[in-house]
Structure formats: C-alpha cells, structure tokens
Subunit: 376 residues, 2 copies
Amino acid sequence: MTARIREFLDTRRPDGPCLVVDLDVVRDNFLAFRHALPDSRVFYAVKANPAPEVLSLLAELGSNFDCASVAEIEMALAAGADATRISFGNTIKKERDVSRAFHLGVRLFAVDCVAEVEKVARQAPGARVFCRILCDGAGAEWPLSRKFGCEPEMAIDVLETAHRLGLTAYGVSFHVGSQQANTEAWDGALASAANIFRVLGERGIQLKMVNLGGGFPTKYLKDIPAVEAYGRSIDASIRQHFGNRIPETIIEPGRGMVGNAGIIKTEVVLISQKGGADDTRWVFLDIGKFGGLAETMDEAIRYPMVTRRDSDEKTPCILAGPTCDSADVLYEKTPYALPVSLEIGDEILIEGTGAYTTTYSAVAFNGFEPLKAYVI
Amino acid sequence: MTARIREFLDTRRPDGPCLVVDLDVVRDNFLAFRHALPDSRVFYAVKANPAPEVLSLLAELGSNFDCASVAEIEMALAAGADATRISFGNTIKKERDVSRAFHLGVRLFAVDCVAEVEKVARQAPGARVFCRILCDGAGAEWPLSRKFGCEPEMAIDVLETAHRLGLTAYGVSFHVGSQQANTEAWDGALASAANIFRVLGERGIQLKMVNLGGGFPTKYLKDIPAVEAYGRSIDASIRQHFGNRIPETIIEPGRGMVGNAGIIKTEVVLISQKGGADDTRWVFLDIGKFGGLAETMDEAIRYPMVTRRDSDEKTPCILAGPTCDSADVLYEKTPYALPVSLEIGDEILIEGTGAYTTTYSAVAFNGFEPLKAYVI
C-alpha cells in the first residue's frame, strides 16, 4: 500500500471493486531493473498491464515493449514507443497479423517452429527472429507448461531455416517460469543458449541476442529476492557460458514491473456459514475469479489482504467471489485467515494486484462489469 | 450444426473467432422444457447467454428470468419481461443491489443465510424469498462446490427468520450440479425440501414453491438423456415426497436452453511439435480459455469439434489457445483427436458453445478482443 493510493481511495471513494495503480512504483521498478541488469534492454511485457498511463511512462523512461498481439503493438505505438522498440513476442501468430505488424514497422519476432518461421519469412522479409527454447521452470510458483518453445536441438534447425529464408537469425529466448523465486533458474537455459550460439556459429550463422524472458517475481505473502540478486546471478551465468563473447541481452518483466504497483479495493458482500457441524466462515467479496483475480486459479497466487481490523483475532475463512458460479472460489483448499470481527460492507485491500488483473477480467460475467482501473 | 448457422458462416464469412447462435434451436429447447415439465415455470438463467435477441425471444415465448445481478435484471426488463417474471437468484447480493432490484419491481429473492434475509427484509419489505439448500451434485459433469446453499436444517431457521421479519417465506431451491446426466439426481433434494415444507407447516408457515434449479445438460461428446426423461423422473419424485400437496415448481435452465444453439467458429493459427522424442502435435486456435472457452478449465467440458477433413485419419493433439499464457491450454491431459491432414488456416467449428462462452470471455487479455457473437 502506498500513501498515494490510500489518499486516492479516501478522497475519491470509488464505488465497486477497482484497481488503483501507483505510477511512482512502476518508475521505481523500471529503474531497479535497469540498475540491476545494466547491460540488458528492458522489454516490458504489455500483457501484464496495458494501461495507457503505464505504457506512456515506460516509453518515456526508455523501455522497449514485448507485445502479444497486433492490438498490443498498436497500444505501445500510441504510448509513444517507436516500432524499433517493439518485439512481437508471441510464438503463435496469424500470418496476417505478422504482416500487419511488419507494416507497422515491427522487425523483431518470436518463433518456436519452422512453420512460424515460414510465416515471418513470407510477411516480414529480412526481419530478426529469435527462437524460444523449452525451459523446465523449476523453482517457479507457476511453472509454465510446454506450450511455448522447442527443444534446444530443434531450435538450431529453426534458426538455420530462418537464415536460409532470408531472415536474420538473431537469437534465443526462454522463460524460467512465472514468479520465479530461484535466482539461479536462468543458468541451465543460458548453457543451452550458449550451445546453440556455438553450433550455429560453426555453420556461419552469428546469433547476437539472448532474451532472458520474464519470471521476475512480485512480493505476495512470501519474501522474494531483490532484483539485484537476479542481476548478479544472471551476469555470472552469462560470463560462465559465453566466456568473452557476451551476447546482447533483453529482459521481459511484466509482473515484476507492475505487480506491486497496484491494489484492488473490494468490499465484503456477505459472511455466512453453512450450518450443521460445518462452522467454517465463508467470506464473499465483490470481486472474484472472473472479475480480475484469475490468478487464484488452483489457488496459485495468494495475495496479501489488508483490512481495518487486522489487529483483531483471525480465523481461517473460505474466500469467494460474487458470481453465481461455483468455481468462483478464491481460497478454499488453504483457507485464508481474516479477522473474526470482519463485517459485511467492510473494505478489503488486495495487494500486489497491478499485474494480470484488469485484462483477465471477464467482459460481463453474471452482468458484473469488468474491473475498473485508476492509474495515478 | 444447423443449416442456418452454416449458411450464415458461408455467406457472411466473419473474420476472427465468433459465436453464432441459432434462435430456432433456443425456441425448440424452450418448448421442449415446457412440454417435458408442463407444471413448472421456466426461469431462464440469464448468465448462460444474455444476448438481447435470446432474452427477447424467451420473453415473447413466456419465459421468466433468473438473474444474477442488477445488470441482468435490467437486461431482462429491456427484453420485455415484466418485473414479476424476474427472480434475483444470486444468494450473494450487496444490500444496495437488493434495494435497486426492489425499486425495479423485483419481488422474488434467493437467500441461504440469515444475514442475507436481513438485507432483503430491510430493502425489499414483503418480498418472497426462497432458501437454497446444499445438494451433493453426484452425477454432474461439473459438481458444484458448497459455495451456495445451507444445510436443510439451517434452511428452516433461515425461512422462519424471513417470516418473522415480514417477508413471505416462499420456498426452497437447490441445484443438482451443472451438466447433470443422472435424471434421478433431483430425488434426494426433493426429499429434503418436502421435509422443510412439513416442519415449517407445523409451525404455521406454508411454503409454496420448490425451485428445481438448473443442471439440465447440453450434448457435448457423450449422449445425454432427453429432457422428457428428466421431466418424468422429477414428477415421480415430487409425487412421492409431497404426496397430494404438490408445490408450485420452477426450473432454471441455462446451458440446457442455449448450449446446443451455438457454434464457435475458430481458425487454426499454428500446428507444431516440440522436437526431440516428443512427436505430439500442438494445435493452436485463435480462441482459448480466456477468449470464451473458460469451461475447458481442468478439461471439464470436452466440446465436439468439426473440421472439413474429419473423414481423414485422426491423431491425438494437444489443443491450446493463442495467448502468451501457459495456462491457456484447452486439452492436454486427455489429448483431442484431430485430422492428420489439418492445416494452418483451417476452420474448426466448436459445437455446443451457446452457453457460458461470450460472458466468460476476458475483456482484452493479450490485446485480443472479447468473443464476438451473432444471433440469427
């Protein structure tokens, strides 16, 4: 919670659930990344929070942008970013979207298979491509599936094909998994990347860039390492695996850039029990899984919550959203401790909600409007 | 697939993923419910698909409406339903929303605890309330959690409190679980309901109505019983448990009313493999979990899919959506058989998607716009 957000809520008193994002925190995060990884260019992952004010601030600070779609590319351009500062980082693109991005000036594309390389070669001649490789994600709160990336061995073929089709085989990317608490997690993938650089170098193709991806955590309930620790560890791994041929590097923070900049204000709609021997308290909020808290799926992320009664005794509660959907339960397997004195109508502030909330919000599920956001 | 939908797609050729809903099927479903359960009033669960055309058709046919929020109440009113035909069926309501509903003319409210009864008594004096009881949901494809409802024993107190506070203690509701394949599933809850009627009757409170809820299935891959079979089974249970004091009954079909009326048109964006020993084909569509197919969560619902190459040999594929989110995978634990000859750019039609798709769609995740819908 920042003083600016508290003041905004106290003076504006917005009705209904809303996210409030403090741009000062985003600025601090950007500067911290730049300080901790001074040799890496920052490509903000727009999908984490594409609020125009966030994009404009980052464009002004000199950030680059990792975009998942043509719409995100257009948002980054509208915020003042030059197309040369934009990466089309989604490995799953319609060919007509590759073409639209190319015509908007984008020259950097992610791929993870030959079919995608062929689309880029046809629609974005001469562009730079980087190939995403699989990464085991150990240590991540939310390890990624095998959806993105290919085996490192296959990446060699993919990049060689790109080169043969007239594209610039530019580099390798990977993602160590979301909310990655292990600062060493980049090491294995960096070893694979160095090997791809070496093999392709022997074939006359000089890769230039390693995209270190995201995974930088935001603080929820548990403490996390400082961004400097990630910087030191990544730097050491790069030196070890690449020796004196250090590649360009980029990072793609999303959660790490905006997660702790936002607070969701919510209201207790109902507190009830089910009767019989079951005396568990159910606490229902005016926001749930479909209103922006999708990352509570499988209770993956446990957000810190603040009430005005936190000095009172607490008891474990099942926490749920307001919709008529039985899946709209936030914490049940591991109940959430809330004050016994909590009352219907009380405000609860959910911290660390600046990333992956507004955009996950359903368009109108149960008639509830999507999560409102105020960027201050 | 209906001929009208096929013709619409062939002539209009809409770009991007979209849902097409055939109103003729909705009409048939409504008439089938009325025929199978002639003594029950139909309250369409608006949340399943609140398209204005669907609501207008159902209002015209004489349907009533089960609404989850004030916004849904306003949609039902705008479609031509009188407020006396509307139930505020969400057990989790802000007190100011109870008041708004009351001022819009709504006089029927769901409750499942004393705190909710107190809100209704304060804001909707004299209104009818029904108390939802817990139901084990055995036999449902998607059993409901304990989120809604209370133990039958507690429902007696809840309804007695309602009576004491000047409300009309009107009845009992329950929900046997979504996509319920067991036509006998209503029996246990009807026995509980009859007992609540009896106990309260002895205390001078005459309940009148049993809300049989939804749960009526739509056909996905497996065959389902005809709606007549549900009608016969429910009728037999009511006669058995209520004897010659048959209550009014209402049903709240949502999925059963619109599920099979809709088809989602999607496009294959990419087909790839990961390399190494893993030769599984990944098929990426332009719609996924965040674009309307949220009910594939935990692979709960397996939609039938139609391609133009279905006579060709098929192979199990992992099916995923287009976003940069590793959780956006539709079928992976149990891969989905698709033609080996399937190509990038091919159309895939996803059947049985008329319910719980458009409204679950994220507002702009990864910059992708929400699912478009055409109601014909």
